[in-house]
């Protein structure tokens, strides 16, 4: 049932504007995460930190195919999705710091970052839990006769949990406008894919729901973007859900920044993937084919760095939540 990587061919050209957009989204994620990692190492951030670095092409490629009113649900590794969907650095860093100016008023932290005004329905601390929620968001769009779509991101490991299965089948049966994006980074925590399922391609699971699927190079933002654009168009047109498997890799450890110190993956494997770094790939290609100049791309990076510095300063200057407000937002009304 898996289509033979149609989106991975360079059939139709992508506009320079989109290339720069993809590049910018990726750079924003990379720098946001790298700085967050440093802050964590410096002991400035409480709690857990699941860095997205390495997987940027997926979030960027998909999100560039969406509108603001399209909805996404995310995972424990949610910063990349949030940044790519447009959530502000200020709210995000402030949240990581546990400040009242944060995206969750300091109540949620890294695993619950959201911005419902941008259709970011939250990172999620429970593996697989965001998947049915996206199906519900897609249901709501159709119910209201809107043509919005919903997108749910999840890992290879998450496809082993019941809620993935149930939600995929539900979406297929109800023919809902929802994209299932599996970011296959080869590991569920420290367990390689080969030990948690017998398949090579997670996309093969879509057939169990009568859902079409496609496999893309998850280090190639353009390939991801093409596949997502097609799937979004299909979903908007009422043709139902679609499964996209993006083969990708995370550079840091499962959690935190220490990374690469445990023998669950080889240095060689890490190096091989890093040699195809999604940002470098796109940059090289854009410079080679003249889509963008080095100055343009450098400028994106510089602007992003400035914005990050400002956001971190803002976060550090922000007040802590007031302990008198412990019961805030437990209930509505």
């Amino acid at each position: 049932m898996t289509q033979d990587k149609p989106a991975n061919t360079a059939a139709h050209p992508i506009s320079p504007q989109v290339v720069k957009d993809l590049y910018e989204r990726m750079v924003r994620i990379r720098l946001f995460e790298t700085e967050a990692g440093k802050l964590m190492e410096a002991g400035k951030l409480p709690g857990f930190l699941h860095l997205y670095v390495g997987q940027e092409a997926v979030a960027a490629g998909v999100m560039a195919a969406l509108r603001d009113d399209d909805q996404i649900t995310s995972t424990h590794r949610g910063h990349g999705h949030a940044v790519a969907k447009g959530v502000g650095f200020k709210e995000m860093y402030a949240e990581l710091y546990g400040r009242v100016t944060g995206a969750c008023l300091g109540r949620g932290g890294s695993m619950h970052i959201n911005d419902v005004t941008l259709g970011m329905l939250g990172a999620n601390g429970i593996v697989g839990a965001g998947i049915p929620i996206a199906v519900g968001a897609a249901f709501a769009a159709r119910y209201k006769s809107e043509d919005g779509v919903a997108v749910t991101f999840f890992g290879d490991g998450a496809t082993n949990i019941g809620s993935f299965h149930e939600a995929a089948n539900m979406a297929a049966v109800l023919r809902l406008p929802v994209l299932f994006i599996c970011e296959n980074n080869g590991y569920a925590e420290f367990t390689p894919q080969s030990k948690h399922m017998l398949l090579t391609d997670v996309a093969d699971r879509a057939a169990a729901y009568g859902m079409p699927s496609v496999i893309v190079d998850g280090m190639d933002a353009v390939a991801v973007h093409r596949a997502a654009t097609e799937a979004v168009a299909r979903a908007r047109a009422g043709e139902g859900p679609m499964f996209i498997e993006a083969k990708t890799y995370r550079y840091y450890d499962h959690q935190g920044v220490k990374g690469l110190r445990h023998p669950y993956r080889s240095q060689e494997e890490v190096d091989t993937w890093k040699a195809r770094d999604p940002i470098d790939l796109l940059r090289d290609r854009a410079l080679a084919d003249g889509t963008a100049t080095g100055a343009e791309l450098d400028d994106i990076e510089r602007r992003t760095r400035d914005e990050i510095a400002e956001a971190i300063a803002h976060a550090e200057a922000s007040p802590l939540p007031d302990t008198a407000d412990l019961l805030l937002n437990v209930y509505s009304g």
């Binding site: 995206a103 329905l121 709501a140 019941g162 937002n329 209930y331 009304g333």
Partner: protein
């Protein structure tokens, strides 16, 4: 939408219409669907079949498949569908059929629906209603008979209602759907066919407000769900002995209207709490703990709890009857409380 709820007074002339519990639920649900297009129902066999308990009969015919949605047997995805749709502004009514099935989808209820508003810094509300049938008494055995309100009432962000008759089945359901929070409506299986007076127009019953079902001065009985009827039976029996029982139906166990209970206990000085769930760790523990705290100097006897013994629900009717509290045990409990000087 805020919860504007007004319970009309039952017709004083006694001519008013009676309805069964399940039909009252159905009528309230239909009325709120008529008034608000954002309300839809999803669940297993809720549409085409009208629900295995006939809870949804006629609704597909009136509202069509857009608003009455049959789903696969996938409770986690079903509740998740409700969470996502609620976060996007709809008012889903998701049916869990038997409350005992909650273990396959509790994460969506507890970690998603209940916590989303809080974790998101207030950015979103989850006006989700979950309907389900609870309770023993039909020989349905250990996996189809439980009353698990104590789990849910322990979860910040959730509300839980337990209708005791047709009147409250309708009014609490309407209020649950209108409420901006996730609310679990625990219908009682044994009561489905029981009748009481039910006004025809739409009405809500305020959540978090207890109802004094009978006034009395000697003992307060706080009864949950189906136990309200049993307590009233016990009260009638005791009245013949010259003992006046006050029966309080909290209606909502989260939030719990402790004030009404405490005010009563301060007058009666004796109190018994009764529910179907096992006693250990049941809601009766919370109610007892609050009472002994708030009415310590008013109690002439310890708060007495009556619940099921600490075992799964037995199948054999003879055991099941001995297992579930009833009017006789409540009356006995009241007598014991009164013996204590």
């Amino acid at each position: 939408m805020t919860t504007i709820t007004e319970a009309p007074a039952p017709a004083p002339d006694g001519t008013a219409r009676t309805l069964t519990y399940v039909k009252a639920f159905n009528e309230g649900l239909g009325q709120v669907m008529r008034e608000d297009d954002s309300v839809f129902v999803a669940g297993e066999d809720v549409a085409g079949y009208g629900g295995v308990f006939r809870m949804f009969e006629g609704l597909l015919e009136e509202f069509g498949p857009r608003r009455m949605v049959d789903t696969p047997i996938s409770e986690a995805a079903l509740v998740g569908l409700g969470v996502g749709a609620a976060a996007r502004g709809l008012r889903p009514v998701v049916d869990l059929m038997f409350m005992d099935f909650i273990g396959v989808c509790l994460d969506q209820i507890v970690n998603q629906a209940a916590k989303m508003k809080y974790m998101f810094g207030g950015a979103v509300s989850v006006p989700l209603t979950i309907t389900t049938a609870s309770g023993a008494g039909l020989g349905a055995a250990a996996q189809h008979s439980q009353s698990l309100e104590a789990w849910l009432a322990h979860v910040p962000g959730l509300k839980v209602v337990m209708p005791c008759d047709a009147y409250t089945a309708k009014g609490l359901t309407v209020s649950a759907i209108r409420d901006d929070n996730p609310v679990v409506v625990m219908l009682n299986k044994v009561l489905l066919g029981s009748k009481s007076e039910v006004p025809e127009q739409i009405y809500g019953i305020p959540l978090g407000q207890a109802h004094t079902a009978r006034q009395g001065s000697d003992v307060t009985v706080v009864a949950l769900g189906r136990m309200v009827g049993e307590a009233l039976t016990a009260a009638a029996e005791l009245a013949a002995e010259g003992v006046e029982i006050e029966v309080i139906d909290p209606r909502t166990v989260q939030p719990l209207d402790t004030e009404t209970v405490i005010a009563s206990v301060r007058r009666t000085n004796r109190v018994l709490v009764v529910h179907e769930a096992v006693t250990f760790g049941g809601l009766g523990a919370e109610i007892a703990a609050q009472i002994q705290d708030a009415a310590f100097d008013y109690l002439d006897a310890p708060v007495l709890r009556i619940g099921a013994p600490f075992s799964p629900v037995p199948f054999s009717p003879v055991l099941e009857k001995a297992y579930v509290p009833d009017a006789a045990r409540i009356a006995q409990g009241c007598r014991r409380l009164l013996e204590r000087s």
